[in-house]
């Protein structure tokens, strides 16, 4: 057993020997994934191929009493690979990839609407000599667009079993399962298809003619819609309109829902304060749990809406058009249009953004985009920005017709996006020094009405990931922080000895916090953040936000509440340095807030992003690189922001 096996966590040792392995191959849009899901029932184990940035999907299915391991190989257009993903597929088919056994049989998935192109790839795979079965997908769409195909005759012409499967309807899946059960008896072509390109072309034409194939008409709706959406003038306008609508929905439509969640938690906190007896328990429940988690859950409506929009745009087919429109712009930064989609998704959250880079055929583009994605202003930064901008700019201040707060927010979004593009450009330049560039090509799928269920599933799985983050990382951090802020317990005698008026709860709590473990921790890292103007309380906030950015808001809230339980907002505003050279001066001056904001623009403070980088790249190398470069950049840029603000007389 080689080391690669447990690396991927795929299959136990005994399985690899006895259980037949069936691999799915086909071009990227052929519907492999829905066939895979149909066979395995969504129970895929995801991992990585040993040592490369290529994700691996393995599932299993049972036919009769026999278990089969089903592997969804990366999509490819031909067996002469141009990208690392395709190399994996070819190596697996040839049994040349260490730690991944050669499949016993292959299911070649082809899209019936692109059969004329896809059969070239089928010819190449059949030439590999593995027992093969051809799975034809999208036959429903072929028929709708006046095309036709005799599936049985296709099987006769190819010399292998052929089955039609309409993945999203589940049609043909049971037939496919049955067929898989008899894979040892599959017929093989009498003669492998030709390898010479001209002879292969003649073979494809002959097979298509025998199968009575008629290509689908061009999708009329798609053509008409594209006439508008990809028009030089209208297309550009629509593109900007969609982008504006995207952010408008996120910020305007979500606002009333957010207010609702906010008041719900406020009521809950009141209830706890009234009903819960012991003061320490009320503190833990009210400040740490309800305050901490509530501060984050407020953003759930916004995040759900963001994901809903992304899923809708993707499902309809507009994302491919957005990539097409933006390709030229992205090319300036060494990337391609699909990277734009990944970065756009990162406005919701870097995690789906990084996962969306899977559509990029070039591994170098993929890495560059993944390194840049955490810089896009994700929804977790929003609560932090809202809090800090509130401390920086009066709500009533206006610049022309625009609110000053909104302009600062826009500036931060812009700073993040521009930084992301520049970072991608740098990483692409570094990557491009070795190896050949991958040519750019992209299919534009016809517009489709997305199945509501698919959209809801996509939205729910993203929202669930966010909620899980809230319930684990954020709750954990909030509780630990609460303990750190409230321990050690100060005895009354000790307080008296220190000259604290034990009759004044505000003074007691201020003293306790100032002498807590958290204060010790915050002071320990003070030398690092001192040049940025952060005091120990801000340091605690920044440290606690390392797991998830939103925690910063909850932490500062807790600190402020501990110092002045009556009016935490005022406590925050009037917070002063408690020690050090700046003792007595207010903490949240313009230079400090500016430095903090810029720090949050750059720093990689998100365990989920680190974890997904590890999963998607298959090594710790890239998350470590991303974390180091972003943290260093955050410090330097924050220092610059502080210096500039001081010079500007802020």
């Amino acid at each position: 057993m080689s080391a690669g096996c447990h690396d991927t966590g795929v299959g136990a040792g005994a399985d690899l020997v006895q259980v037949p392995r069936v691999a799915l191959v086909g071009s990227p849009n052929a519907g492999k994934t829905s066939v895979f899901n149909g066979l395995t029932g969504l129970r895929a184990r995801t991992g990585n191929y040993p040592g490369v940035t290529v994700s691996r999907f393995v599932g299993s299915c049972r036919v009769g009493g026999q278990r089969y391991v089903v592997e969804d190989l990366p999509g490819l257009y031909g067996l002469e690979p141009v990208s690392p993903d395709e190399r994996i597929t070819v190596d697996v088919l040839d049994g040349r990839l260490e730690g991944v056994p050669r499949p016993d049989a292959v299911l070649i998935v082809v899209d019936a609407t692109t059969l004329r192109r896809s059969l070239g790839c089928v010819a190449q795979v059949l030439g590999r000599g593995l027992p093969a079965c051809v799975v034809v997908t999208f036959t429903d769409e072929l028929a709708r667009r006046q095309g036709r195909l005799d599936v049985e005759a296709l099987g006769q012409a190819l010399g292998v079993p052929v089955v039609a499967v309409v993945g999203h309807r589940g049609y043909g899946v049971s037939e496919l399962r049955e067929l898989m059960g008899g894979w040892r008896a599959w017929t093989a072509p009498a003669l492998a298809p030709p390898t010479d390109p001209a002879e292969r072309d003649a073979w494809v034409e002959s097979v298509l003619a025998f199968a009575d194939y008629r290509a689908p008409e061009r999708h009329r709706v798609t053509r008409r819609v594209d006439d508008v959406l990809l028009h030089p003038v209208w297309g550009t306008l629509v593109f900007f309109a969609v982008m504006v609508l995207f952010f408008q929905t996120v910020f305007t439509l979500a606002a009333p829902l957010q207010d609702g969640v906010e008041s719900l938690f406020a009521r809950l906190a009141e209830l706890v304060a009234e009903r819960v007896g012991p003061a320490w328990l009320a503190g833990l429940l009210g400040d740490a749990l309800i305050g901490g988690v509530g501060g984050v859950l407020v953003f759930v409506p916004q995040i759900v809406l963001l994901f809903l929009l992304l899923a809708l745009l993707e499902g309809v087919g507009y994302m491919a058009r957005a990539a097409f429109v933006m390709d030229r712009v992205m090319a300036r930064f060494g990337l391609e249009g699909r990277a734009f989609v990944a970065l756009l998704s990162s406005f919701a959250c870097a995690v789906p953004g990084i996962m969306a880079t899977r559509t990029l055929p070039s591994a170098r583009d993929r890495l560059a985009t993944m390194m840049a994605a955490p810089l896009m202003t994700c929804s977790a930064r929003l609560p932090v920005y809202v809090l800090l901008i509130g401390l920086l700019v009066e709500p009533s201040r206006k610049v022309g017709p625009f609110g000053a707060q909104g302009l600062v927010m826009f500036g931060l979004y812009l700073l993040g996006a521009v930084s992301a593009l520049l970072a991608a450009w740098v990483f692409k330049r570094i990557g491009d020094r070795r190896g050949q560039p991958v040519p750019f090509y992209m299919e534009l799928p016809p517009y489709r009405l997305p199945a509501p269920r698919a959209v809801l599933v996509a939205m729910w799985s993203s929202a669930r990931a966010f909620l899980r983050k809230c319930s684990t990382v954020i709750v954990g951090t909030a509780v630990v922080l609460w303990l750190l802020l409230n321990l050690p317990l100060q005895s009354t005698a000790h307080l008296r000895a220190a000259g604290v008026d034990t009759g004044d709860p505000v003074a007691v709590s201020a003293y306790s916090v100032d002498h807590s473990y958290a204060a010790g921790l915050g002071r320990a890292v003070a030398p690092v953040f001192e040049p940025l103007g952060f005091d120990w309380r801000v340091n605690i906030g920044v440290l606690s936000a390392q797991g998830a950015r939103e925690t910063f808001v909850a932490t500062l809230g807790q600190v402020a509440a501990a110092e002045d339980p009556e009016d935490p907002a005022r406590a925050l505003r009037e917070m002063t340095y408690s020690d050090g050279p700046r003792a007595g001066e207010p903490v949240f001056t313009a230079p400090t807030v500016a430095a903090l904001l810029v720090y949050f623009v750059y720093a990689l403070q998100c365990m989920a992003t680190v974890a997904v980088l590890r999963r998607e790249t298959g090594t710790w190398r890239w998350p470590v690189i991303a974390f180091s470069y972003l943290t260093a950049l955050a410090w330097v840029m924050a220092w610059l922001a502080r210096t500039v603000t001081v010079l500007a007389g802020g």
Binding site: A153, A157, A190, L191, P193, A198, W203, S206
Partner: protein, 182 residues
């Protein structure tokens, strides 16, 4: 390049049926005169014989040859040979342009026997039925339905959709398929 692809000939592993566009070749039946590329393979024993059908060429391997080793060279030779359709000639030296109707019927008979031994027959047998070839006359193929096929409403569909389509593909001159019981 002429579109072509090979298919197995049921019961004859040494033969391959190369599907070519209908009407490409000027003659049918066993061939004596073929273009030089194919003639070379007949001469060196790679191929034993070459037969033309209305929409296919059937090649039979020589003794001791295999498709795995020799198939690719047969295909390349066929491509070269099909580029010169005028060079193909039947064994009896007759041009089928003037060929008799009985010669057509004989070809149709052979094709029908093939199809019933192959996919269409398999389909009937898998459903517990049987289709027996009765005869061919003036382009009309007559069959008899047996077993579970007799009186089965689906048999009409099987006959006309599968058998007729399959036969017409090979012999565009097919007039129709008839069932004796019908």
């Amino acid at each position: 390049m002429v579109p072509l692809h090979p298919q197995r000939v049921p019961g004859e592993p040494d033969s391959l049926r190369w599907i070519v566009p209908a009407g490409l070749l000027p003659c049918e039946g066993l061939l004596a005169q073929v273009p030089s590329a194919l003639a070379a393979l007949l001469a060196d024993g790679t191929l034993e014989r070459v037969t033309a059908e209305p929409a296919a060429v059937v090649t039979r391997l020589g003794a001791g040859r295999s498709w795995g080793r020799d198939g690719a060279s047969v295909r390349t030779a066929l491509h070269a040979a099909l580029a010169e359709p005028a060079e193909w000639g039947p064994a009896d030296g007759k041009d089928t342009g003037t060929g008799s109707r009985s010669a057509d019927d004989a070809l149709l008979y052979a094709a029908a026997r093939d199809v019933l031994a192959g996919t269409v027959g398999d389909f009937a047998r898998s459903h517990g039925g049987a289709i027996e070839l009765v005869g061919v006359h003036r382009g009309v193929v007559t069959v008899r339905l047996g077993g579970a096929c007799r009186g089965c409403p689906a048999s009409w569909l099987t006959l006309h959709q599968r058998l007729e389509r399959e036969l017409r593909r090979r012999c565009p001159g097919l007039v129709g398929v008839r069932d004796t019981g019908a």
